[in-house]
Symmetry: D2
Subunit: 277 residues, 4 copies
């Protein structure tokens, strides 16, 4: 009767300051942990004997960070996954999701301050570990990456039916808040370096693509990542179409030379695809 179950802890907030002499480094993460395993009696009988409390999951995040340091989200997540698998025989699979909140250094006339930071964003860096007894899937990603292009974006020659009112356009604003997640085919990578390469590939393709639709650009971006980054075996991209509607200025006696738009959030298109080798 119990077809599926999972339990864990979400929104574990941890900040680690790595204190060099003059220069500190900051790791600012939100972590979620999810267990799947032989925990049926806790559901059916209220028998908690094999249930590791979610409070302990949280404590483990702090303890492992203290013992080993957080270097990259990927390696920290892997260490957490291994820790739980080794110590919990009932655990079949553990998932660790990490979101890194990004900070830059405050700059001054003498250069960067070593111990003062400014949040960059809204973009975040993500990592996901799905680890079982025999196999571990490791992925990374970027979330809430807001981009907009004001040229080379069209949407025309689409299917029309009785309820279609959208006009063709060869020159529209294209804006999205992108989420991309990709899977690595190897481990022991320089994850931060690969992450930078994937991110700049996504941004570069978005900027330069001659877009016939969100679908078209999304595919191009994914393909470019697979072409340029051999360590990535597959990529999933989600791009909401944050519509920017041209304002009808003719009512006020003005012409809209594709210049004035209303930015909207509701409703939005939602386009997604997974590309693999």
């Amino acid at each position: 009767m119990l077809a599926h179950s999972a339990y864990g802890k979400s929104k574990i907030r941890i900040v680690q300051v790595l204190r060099g002499r003059e220069r500190h480094d900051l790791r600012d993460l939100t972590v979620a942990i999810r267990f799947k395993g032989q925990y049926d009696e806790s559901y059916t009988d209220g028998d908690n004997r094999h249930v590791l409390p979610t409070d302990t999951m949280k404590n483990t995040v702090y303890a492992l960070a203290a013992r080993d340091g957080i270097h990259e989200p990927e390696t920290f997540g892997l260490a957490l996954a291994r820790h739980f698998l080794e110590r919990n025989p009932r655990l079949n699979r553990v998932r660790v999701d990490l979101t890194e909140h990004l900070w830059g250094r405050i700059s001054g006339p003498k250069g960067e301050h070593g111990q003062a930071f400014i949040r960059s964003g809204p973009e975040t860096r993500t990592a996901a570990i799905q680890a079982g007894r025999h196999r571990t899937l490791l992925g990374a990603g970027v979330a809430d990456l807001m981009v907009l292009k004001s040229a080379d974006s069209a949407f025309s020659d689409f299917l029309r039916d009785a309820f279609t009112t959208l006009p063709d356009t060869r020159d529209r604003l294209l804006a999205t808040s992108m989420t991309a997640t990709w899977r690595y085919s190897a481990s022991d990578l320089d994850y931060s370096s690969v992450w930078q390469t994937v991110r700049s590939t996504l941004l570069g393709e978005f900027a330069t693509h001659k877009s016939e639709s969100v679908q078209h650009t999304l595919y191009d971006m994914g393909q470019a990542v697979l072409n340029r980054v051999p360590e990535v075996s597959g990529i999933h991209v989600v791009m909401p179409n944050k519509h920017h509607l041209p304002v009808d200025l003719s009512r006020f006696g003005f012409e809209n030379r594709n210049e004035i738009f209303v930015a909207t959030d509701e409703p939005h298109g939602l386009i997604e695809a997974t590309l693999v080798r």
Copy 2:
């Protein structure tokens, strides 16, 4: 290389006023539509000839509501799904998700006003239709149902390891913001009546269960729904554990007789399970 793709429109907001003579009825929905089908050329070649614009999906929501009226989220969603499948040969599967924002009537000394409403919530009513060429899955649910019990909730005798600091408790506050979704084994039901029965079953079990854990109570709630509502073939329940931490009052010279708590949102436990017949 394109392993998976989908596209659609999210956050379509529609309010319909059904105007009786003295008494109006209100339907207030947020709708999302998602297409899966043979749309690869739009990704790979920028060929939009078979792509129904997401703007048309939105228009269709308004047009069908105008033509047929919104009676229940489930029937409205089914009508949308059928409309799209019939007219789009490239469409293999369509998903329609509906969230109903609930309104009650404002009451006065002479009873309920017929044409004035007050939002009830944060709870919403949901429906989900997954329709293909050969098979349609129809489900419903409740989201953001916030409940709390101040008795009959324990969590003890759990697994302890080196990082476990949580004490056993036989009397804690249990609070959650529940999301439940269930699948119907039949169609042409009185969906609103079944929805009320499922909702009151979930609430009643939550209130009366002698809880050994969130898992234990979640299972009991799901089981009660399956026992009492034959039209439901399976149910998925997600219950974040919104921790209420007892305040250490001894530092101020007071005793906390299990009375004073800090309500927290971060981190939270997250418990889920699917029960089927």
Copy 3:
């Protein structure tokens, strides 16, 4: 050079369970405390000797709740304000803002459960205390009260200029998420009873008023409160106009008989007024 300063603690979350034998009561508050006084040295010289930490303000909320119990937001806020004024000679004025999150009881076949609760809302009950050495202002309110009327709402015969495109309407949907705050002219009231009277007066007037505009209805509601509730000396009401735009169905071959609307949040009108005796 320091023209104004204030400091305090916001978002203090406290839940108190008042445990009767069979029946528990719940108080669920978010509290904010703000001090104004002779604290200039803390700004200008970093001299903290007279600064009560905001952490202590938080502790005081828990300590006073433990010692005296939270009966009503107004009395609890007054007790906090007096506590701080008595013990902090440098404090000139303290402001305490309280938001009560409302819970009802879960009902079952045998009536209401004594120890299980369901959140009602999005509406909250508020109270505000502004206390100085010589004078205390006590107020209360309601926030996020969402209401909608589908009849007796017009907006016509307004000023038109070159940029006006809005048509006159004699029958529109009127929806708002109301915030009202009022001031009491007396203390030692049965605050919960007065709160209920004000709230039902606001709702009743909203429902029955023949509205020529949001302004018109807002004024009527405020006036009714002053007429009916002698303990209230003044009331401030803020009503965003949550526009519901009729959908142009003629493009699809249908007529919109004032039935189908898009609910929008951006942009919204914002109407406010203060009425006093």
Copy 4:
């Protein structure tokens, strides 16, 4: 009886693309407009004859942007304020609040793309115009500027009472999401240049100040702005203290060398001050 009233439009979203040959510029604003004047009959009698609809306010934002272009938030806001004052004799005072959402250019191997943008933030740039018949106040600001320093922040030797449990610290994390607003003593400034100077002054002082408290650093920052920027006549700074709590690792057998913190949002300290010449 009507002691105060105001009405207007909030959350007007406008994006303007200024199209150079190779290089586009982007203005992305949220605008709010508020009227105060002789509008009492609209409240008391439902007489709308002198009421400019808030829909027209919105239209005016689009029309003036089309006619004159949006160059800086300050000048655009001033133009809006003057427009409304000139054409509405009943209008006594108008307030225009503008929030600019900031975008940078996407960079590629060949430098910056001219027509592709990435949102920077969460920080926004703000401007506020309060214009009456005889006097206009012009201000600007920055909102949601998140900063953190991991050195040179203390909080000690503060007032202690019976409920104080906070220990002294000479080395804590100081994090805030700053909002600052300042008033200009002159008009016809190069607002963007002054804005950059104020912003970098705030950031630089935050980074280098030997902080005894949030109050102490806030004052130092405000003072630096007044010293360095003669065009600013006064500045108001609000700094929530986003507490980062050291984790007690001794329970797990580790020492916390001021390295591992829980980032929290509830509750938070809230410190504010206004500095004038």
